[in-house]
Subunit: 662 residues, 3 copies
């Protein structure tokens, strides 16, 4: 549990640097991330490097004992490079070439830029790979931000065709996999294949899915070039990348697979305003963020990188690389967090197992695009509210350093939520109903589990599942043979959401119909599916309580399964076959909670309905309770719990309490 900060020495007079470094140290900050947007200062003209300022900045930080996370600056290639190779710019779905003037203006498929990425990474790694202060690396910055993972450039078309030739070998195999006989789309060679955009009506879905997979692969390859160089030239330093929230354009399990540390950038208020929450939630959580928005990603990215511990299958190394410190500038509406929230969010990350929480940024820049994005300090160099709270976390950490030693902070959870990017894409490509949103469903089921006080691992469909007693599969549109085998050999309770197993790997309807390979396990078949327009609601009962269905409904033919819920007209809504359970429609939130509570009990877990806006996490020997509400909440982990090691016995408003469990 350490603190970090993102710092841009190039934005400030060098006289300020030692003052800043000293104040960081005084605030108990240990890590400083630098240089991810500094290419134009590092190499102001082609081949002419200016290392002097960066050497000095690193030394200044080092002098205060701060550890540096050094970044490759490839997210912002300078103008001279773009002018040299204009076709390195990405092309959007409408066929417009994107232009220089902001950031992330490159196409992952462009061979020339890949070479320059290698060149600048090598130059930085050779310069700083063995510097004592440089203790970790970050590749690039927020791959895919501003929807840049997918480019429709000529370079992408060429790369895609090569990838297809590699994947299918024979164009006849591609034609079968895509079903191109439909609408006379058959290809005679791989060279005939275009990118799946600007078509008259929807392009072939398998074509689209493969292009999404190719684009994800291209991101992974781009990073892999940097990763290999950094591992070779900077021995002993972990390599990380900072992922984003609610972002699914590439397969993060694939891109993170080789990383030493997965990090992500946590902006609870911005994500609450900009994503799929209801208008009422956007108001209710306007200044705290929805409690589960950070947690969902903490649990997702904890299970992502290569450093998963043998004894804790979903506990890899992970950080929050950018923590929201106050109002940001980029959401539709940008509110100020309530006092206390910056500290609360920081502790929430630690409670989910973060090694480091690093604030973005040390000081608000008074110019350019993010001038309205706050930092720990204001542009007038005074400490802002977020800075005050970071200071308090630094003091908390000192106070708890003996009670909560790092080696005790392992997360070991018994509930898994399987998160499948491929499955999400299948649903995005074939939504069937205008408002189908697999990501939202995954989040809602996660949130239901968290409201029941359950600690959750979010895992890849390839993760080992033996350790879990309850496994929830919200977006497992395709069930691989390996996953099927794991599910069959597991003893866990299994909960499948609608559409589970409804597609083959090539994005076909299984010939035996949905849920495809799960039919035996579930004792049922899906006869047909319907999406339901806004205002169309079916009523029914679940576990003896009224429930409603909106958005989606599937007609099931039961073949051995029992029902846990029925529509009013008797059609099955939730079916159970032994320890496997299938939900056939868009359940209301309260019913999801009831169902998961029931299944958790069946799994031998002890779910507990938490007070509204309280969340609880167990980490090592400790229990952390976080209160997102405006009132103190009386809650304790056990009937006669000891005095908290941090916080009050009654959890204060927008505050937390930590108990040591016996």
């Amino acid at each position: 549990m350490e603190l970090g900060v993102c710092y841009y020495p190039e934005h400030w007079p060098s006289e300020q640097w030692p003052v800043d470094a000293q104040r960081m140290r005084e605030m108990n900050i240990r890590w400083v991330r630098i240089a991810e947007f500094a290419w134009s200062r590092i190499e102001p003209s082609p081949g002419e490097f200016d290392w002097e300022w960066l050497d000095r900045a690193i030394d200044t930080l080092h002098a205060q004992g701060l550890k540096v996370v050094m970044c490759t600056p490839t997210a912002t290639p300078p103008k001279w490079l773009v002018d040299q190779m204009p076709d390195m710019l990405a092309v959007d779905a409408q066929g417009h070439q994107r232009r220089f003037g902001s950031r992330r203006h490159y196409c992952f498929s462009h061979a020339g830029y890949l070479e320059h990425s290698r060149r600048i990474t090598r130059a930085m790694a050779e310069r700083y790979g063995n510097h004592t202060a440089v203790a970790a690396w970050q590749t690039d910055n927020e791959f895919g931000c501003h929807n840049t993972a997918i480019s429709y450039s000529d370079a992408a078309a060429t790369g895609f065709r090569d990838w297809l030739a590699e994947r299918y070998g024979d164009v006849a195999a591609l034609n079968r996999a895509w079903g191109t006989v439909f609408w006379s789309q058959e290809y005679r060679t791989f060279d005939e294949v275009d990118l799946p955009h600007l078509t008259v009506t929807e392009a072939n879905p398998s074509h689209r899915l493969d292009f999404q997979r190719y684009s994800s692969w291209a991101v992974a390859r781009f990073q892999e070039v940097q990763y290999q160089l950094l591992k070779a030239l900077s021995p002993g330093r972990p390599v990380s990348h900072n992922f984003m929230g609610f972002y699914t354009e590439f397969n993060h399990h694939e891109v993170a697979a080789n990383l030493d540390i997965a990090t992500w950038d946590s902006y609870p208020l911005g994500f609450t305003q900009d994503f799929f929450l209801s208008a009422e939630e956007k108001v209710r959580y306007a200044r705290t963020g929805h409690p589960d928005v950070p947690a969902f990603h903490h649990d997702l990215y904890r299970g992502m990188c290569a450093s998963v511990r043998a004894d804790a299958p979903a506990h890899g190394r992970w950080w929050v690389m950018e923590q929201q410190p106050g109002p940001v500038n980029w959401a539709q509406w940008n509110l100020a967090p309530h006092d206390g929230m910056v500290r609360l969010w920081t502790w929430q990350a630690f409670a989910h197992g973060a090694e480091v929480v690093s604030y973005f940024r040390w000081r608000q820049a008074p110019f350019a695009q993010e001038q309205m994005h706050t930092g720990l300090n204001r542009p007038d160099f005074s400490l802002d509210q977020g800075g005050l709270e970071a200071l308090q976390v630094g003091q908390d950490l000192t106070a708890l350093s003996e009670t909560m030693p790092p080696n005790e902070l392992t997360v070991r959870n018994r509930v898994a939520l399987v998160f499948d990017y491929d499955g999400l894409w299948m649903g995005q490509i074939q939504p069937q109903g205008k408002d189908h949103n697999g990501l939202a469903l995954a989040f809602r089921l996660y949130s239901a589990l968290r409201q029941l006080g359950l600690d959750v691992d979010i895992v890849s469909p390839a993760a080992p599942l033996a350790a879990y007693e309850l496994i929830v599969l919200p977006v497992s549109t395709h069930i691989s043979a390996d996953l099927l085998e794991q599910l069959q050999s597991s003893t866990a309770q299994l909960v499948f959401a609608p559409r589970a197993g409804s597609k083959t790997l090539d994005l076909h309807v299984p010939l035996q119909l949905a849920p495809g390979p799960l039919q035996d396990l579930l004792g049922l078949r899906v006869n047909r599916v319907a999406s339901l327009p806004p205002g169309f609601e079916e009523s029914g009962s679940l576990l003896n309580k009224a429930c409603t269905v909106t958005g989606w409904f599937e007609d099931l033919a039961l073949n051995g399964a029992q029902t846990l819920a029925l529509l009013a007209d008797g059609r099955p809504l939730v079916a159970q076959n032994g320890r496997a359970c299938y939900v056939a429609g868009g359940l209301d939130g309260a019913s999801w909670i009831s169902l998961l509570e029931n299944r958790a009990r069946a799994a031998g877990l002890t779910p507990q309905r938490l007070p509204a806006d309280l969340r609880v996490s167990r980490i090592g020997h400790h229990c952390v309770a976080l209160n997102f509400s405006a009132q103190a909440i009386a809650w304790s982990p056990t009937a006669n719990a000891s005095v908290p090691v941090l916080g009050e016995a009654s959890v204060a408003a927008r505050d937390l309490s930590i108990w040591r469990l016996e």
Copy 2:
């Protein structure tokens, strides 16, 4: 009254074909449509034809006595052809060239593609024109689907200029017709005329209207090339095309004029979700479709083709070529029809005079774009709900074969609704209010007539009108001299909606003001028109009942007309002059029903307010009552009607009853 089905042998193993054919026959299916998307299988490489599989497929169907509707495959030109002539691709209104990868990726104006269309049509007609099994043809598939009737390509620009030169002869005539003196748009030659898109603000409305007319003409010409070849090479077989629902981008009266059979593709649930119905209607009719959505098109397409019978002016030959069999994949929300609806829709088509109802499709394809579109059979080869209902219709038909012989099924109606594509376009080009929608108004007036139990012919503005006693003109923005003469010499009651006669043929305001040539007939002049924003409502009274006006209002100067309705402040709302009646504003639905009931009585008809969601049709000597509601409805055609020949005396829910009338 026969059944058909759309079948894609190329999607299935050939071993399955005889099984399928036998099952079709057993279900009383008589017609099988094939090959409309099979070009890449028929001609896999330029000039290399593979007829073998298609020969075999036809023979297999023939062996079961099935009649084939053979299609030209021009809706899906293969990739190799597009690569040969990339400029055959259409260009959208934003100037983007559309790309290969779905369907309908061609420009109707492209001379090279027109030649290839001729070549493939000739090849197919030469191969199968005299095959015993081939009993009918279909040109292409759904002209204009995905908004493809209009292309802004260079080929279209050239074609448009030639068409203008032909139409106007002299560019001075064009300048007068378009009023180009306005805004210095005068042209010196036809070559100076561009396509009317990408202009800074709206393009000249007459320019836009002429481009719409040209585009419609180009569709008709494209089809005519195929039609002439098919008539020459496949003697005795009728030629058809499958039109769409709520689609107005070309003039269907023009494109269908030479066809032997007009067919259309009926998807009641999809149309209910995707078009202009209210949110409340989209929920209410989510699983039945709005009762009048299929009927409106049945009555429209019945009056469309060349085969109109001398004794029934709006009874041409017509089919439903694609009947929705279950959930589809392409609407915003895709619901499952209530059990019974597929049979109900089929009978509804027969009740409006359809020769054949053909289901789309025999079996759901498990791959590619339409894998979520159901068929009569599921991908696992089992019969789906739609299949079961088709089976029952097959049995119904057998049972009724003697009671309802084909030669007795003529439709003879006394109410006409004049549907004018040119008039619709004028309103679309100059809506004057953001929500003006002539098509919606035409549908609402049609629906009002149907709720009054009246059988309606939807006719072209050039149709003979002498047979009618009530004529409704919802979108007759322009009144031609011929139509005026027919209206003057008619003895029918006439009901004109707002904007009737408000434009000249060239889309000018008539110098004598609206309703232009109707001023004498109506005894009034329109002094000014206003469109009304949402929430702005005027109240008044119509035939002694309160009424409201929204959306539109016109100030009338009466010159002999009486008023049937007034606004509260005394302004005239509905004016009557003898047998002609003009509505000057956006009446509420109930008031339209009252007004049309009043006018129908004046016409000597016997309108009857039907129970909600019941519809009634008379065909030959029979009366068909269709119940779209969830409850049985007690209704019979006469006070002491005999026992129905099909169905119950009280019309069952989502079912029908047929009485033979004495």
Copy 3:
């Protein structure tokens, strides 16, 4: 106070011209604007001029004593010119070249078109500059209409680079001003700078602001070429331009600076429907327009041109060049004004100091884009309702000619609203909340002042302010040193809206934080700002009454200021420091009125809460009361006022009364 009309002789047979001219004179119309769209008639082919018809038209008008406002026809370059120089067409933000076919299809930066503008202006000025009938000129027509002030053409890129080189001299200065070190955007030369569009995410805000400034400069330069020619070749004739409503794409204070007369085009109903008013207001004011929509612009354009009188700082010469005469064709919904409104609007303009009110247009054109736009006369040559009301105004003017002599009609107001285009752009470029709308705020504060019966000057941030006793600054995002000095030396009460002083001239956050240079004057600092999503509301109290805050809130650190309003939790909402007052959030409308009333009283003014939808103006020795409501309103300027010189003692519905003040 004179009447005018817009006339298009080229649209009508020349036999009609003398009839029209005679009727104009009979209606007391004195001015006729002509020729602004007539280029294709004046120069039908390159270099071949046809003056004959225009000579005749002018002579016809002259024969009736009518004065001509002659226009340069540069808003509609003819097709032959566009074909000669296709790159003269503007390019939109998506990079699409706009096309010929409507109007305003030119790029202000195109050197070739600038030369043709000079050529045609010279030709017209040489022909008519000394014609007795030609009494004024208008440059072009509605600069910027249809969003044409900004073009992303190659010509614009070149022009912008030159302008930047001129502005900054040294590219290092540009890099500093824009903060390009952020995101590695540093430029090595001015030639590396692109236009700020099509970037991956938002472009640099200072880059965008400078491009907006450049584009505004290019409009001013375009006009200046015409202005200089007209002044040289048509001595003694004032030169004007007709500006638009709620249009802010260029800096009107800059573009109008040299003009002799500022005119604008007033369409109260269209503006009410198409802009930011609430849905309820759009219904309430559907047929009258919001009372302050015309007034806001009258007061804005009165302070705009070079001819400001020494004794009345915001009383320059101004006209309404186009007055809405009835329903128009271009708004989302186009209603008919209530009877009386055309006359009311005309008098409203006179009451705010207009020299001339000129109706658009004499007669509705029955063809082309504006065929649904009414005129004073209908296409059948009969006088429309607007014409009848213009006739009455003509009679009013005759009746009042002695009571209200022109030399007494000076406006002298004590309240100023500072309107800063640069400040507006800063807020548009960095809205920080999705619904931030500085223009709407300026309008709401103006309206609040008007509801308090106060007469307002809307002035540029460079205007002299010494004459005012209350100064309201709704959009002064940047405070220049000159403005600061004026505010400091003023004795007026000052009211600043949120964001005042929050940016430097280069669009940075001031290093001392907002309100920047105002900190001392206001005795406070803004610690942070938050935008608030819809439905998020803070409550508080202002001057002992409940108030609410939506949309925006700033945390203030008070440093000497007192509070006039607080949130419920004690945070300051309105702070006062001596005569300066700062509002820190999005106040509800009633609270704004209370606050401004309080500040007006403090300024020694006598605000008076007017009856709903009544507005009052003082001009010279007269008081004009305008009643926009449907009921008569008893109101008079003083307790025992004399009999009105026009209208009733109780102001009739949709009518006005004028009193001579003693």
